[in-house]
């Protein structure tokens, strides 16, 4: 299921995948260590890393890695996943992309659908929020009035609320909810049938611009993509 076959289409480059997994793994470790500090009943998570003090350090260091990968995430995906393509995206939102009820013809969308764009924007927005509130909670600078410092904590919790919920939606839709998607983030090649179903406009655009890369040789035109 995961092998690359002739005729498959290039969806992501190695850099995108590297950034994605750096972001994802640091984020998941932040979730786990954060949960270890959120509820006393989950304090045992600290036992795997030599105590809760080490858990705090792991959390803080992962925060820096997460923040660092956030810079690349936002800069490389902003154009594709950060801006809505109206009115086409709106048409898609109105039928929820055919995900929730039967839709005869789902409006055609590009490389990322509006749901993915919302997820990207939530990750970017909450990511920046988590980084900013986290740093202030960690350093508690003198100049910050106490009542403002206090609100950093519920804001950090709000960011977690959002990211954690979206995370499960993302895993579901990136794996079993959309078979054929996961490999886009493993080796970067997707099947033509997947592309046609999921992102027909993206496929057409690549064909028109000659940027389509097909596995097994005959690239339509050898113009560099992006």
């Amino acid at each position: 299921m995961m092998e690359v076959k002739e005729g498959m289409i290039k969806a992501t480059d190695a850099f995108e995948r590297l950034v994605h997994w750096t972001l994802a793994i640091s984020c998941i470790i932040l979730f786990i260590t954060g949960l270890g500090m959120m509820f006393h009943s989950l304090n045992f998570i600290g036992d795997f890393m030599g105590g809760l003090k080490s858990l705090k350090y792991v959390h803080n260091i992962m925060g820096l890695i997460f923040g660092f990968s956030m810079i690349f995430t936002i800069s490389m995906w902003w154009k594709e996943a950060g801006v809505f393509d109206l009115p086409a995206d709106w048409q898609w939102i109105k039928v929820a992309g055919g995900y929730l009820w039967h839709v005869d013809k789902v409006p055609e969308i590009g490389k990322y659908n509006p749901g993915q764009k919302m997820f990207f924007l939530a990750v970017a927005g909450c990511g920046i929020l988590m980084l900013a509130t986290g740093l202030l909670m960690m350093f508690q600078p003198e100049f910050l009035p106490m009542w403002i410092l206090r609100w950093m904590y519920p804001l950090h919790a709000l960011g977690f609320f959002t990211l954690f919920a979206f995370f499960f939606v993302h895993i579901y839709l990136g794996t079993i909810g959309n078979p054929g998607s996961f490999q886009a983030m493993v080796h970067g090649w997707v099947s033509p049938g997947w592309a046609k179903k999921q992102h027909p406009k993206w496929l057409k655009e690549m064909e028109e611009h000659g940027t389509l890369k097909i596995y097994g040789g005959e690239k339509k035109k050898d113009t560099p993509s992006h």
């Binding site: 299921m1 003090k53 929730l100 909670m137 206090r150 904590y153 499960f168 579901y172 909810g177 078979p179």
Partner: protein, 266 residues
């Protein structure tokens, strides 16, 4: 052991600071060199190695007479303690005396309590990466001794006793003093286990938290958003599962001419 209260009566306090010294001594905390800034109040605020201080303050009464008033500042030992709620590790905890204990071995120096405390009592120490505050001499309480500060007080300004008895002592003292005298602590944060009999109205005292409450931010964070985040994620997981069963996955388009076999949903 019953719920206890430490009572401070500022009308009886001479600011000898015997309590401050006894506190340092029992807790084995060295003093740091400070600079004279024109007040006997020294150090000017609580520190990671100074769990209590006596405030010195000049106030003018209505006739223009200057008066010296004192106040002992230290942890208030709230019944509803925001620091305990905020502490991720259980390093801060409620005791059967009603006091708020602190186990430095469990403290990870996250400083959540520093931001949560409505009295701004816990203080962070860089060198040990830990937070410190008054624990009402829990080691003494466990051995049937009174807190060191109470033991040292020569004037009876500090008293230690069972909660109900102390609240009564405080009420009687307020009556005795008359005028603006009032109690501070019993009416806040579900009752504090360190409380005051004050001669003056509460706003007269410098740096005294007015109408202290568990901060709304702490409630929103710990009691609302933290549990809700688990609930929401749980809902999403269940929802995704139901979606998979009822609606099914979005399968690749098999009619495409270059398409190979569709990869079915597991």
């Amino acid at each position: 052991m019953a719920e206890m209260i430490k009572l401070y009566d500022d009308a009886k306090c001479t600011a000898c600071r015997g309590c401050q010294l006894a506190c340092k001594q029992w807790n084995e905390k060295k003093a740091k060199q400070t600079t004279n800034y024109g007040s006997y109040q020294n150090p000017p605020t609580l520190q990671s190695n100074t769990y209590m201080i006596i405030h010195f303050q000049d106030v003018k009464d209505t006739k223009g007479n200057v008066k010296w008033i004192f106040r002992k500042e230290s942890c208030m030992h709230c019944a509803d303690a925001a620091c305990v709620t905020a502490c991720p590790t259980g390093a801060l905890y409620h005791t059967e005396f009603g006091t708020v204990g602190l186990n430095p071995d469990r403290c990870i120096g996250c400083k959540n309590c520093v931001a949560a405390c409505p009295f701004e009592v816990p203080k962070y120490e860089q060198e040990t990466d830990r937070v410190y505050k008054c624990d009402m001499c829990e080691s003494r309480l466990r051995n049937n001794l009174t807190p060191a500060c109470v033991k040292a007080c020569p004037t009876g300004a500090l008293k230690w006793g069972e909660k109900d008895a102390m609240i009564k002592v405080a009420a009687d003292r307020v009556k005795e003093l008359g005028g603006d005298a009032n109690t501070y602590g019993d009416q806040y944060v579900s009752g504090t286990h360190f409380m005051y009999v004050l001669q003056e109205k509460q706003p007269v005292y410098a740096a005294l938290a007015q109408n202290p409450k568990v901060p709304l931010a702490v409630v929103a964070w710990k009691n609302l958003l933290n549990p809700l985040s688990l609930l929401a994620a749980g809902g999403i997981v269940v929802g995704s599962f139901l979606h998979y069963l009822i609606h099914g996955p979005k399968l690749p388009d098999e009619t495409g001419e270059t398409t190979k076999k569709a990869e079915g949903g597991e």
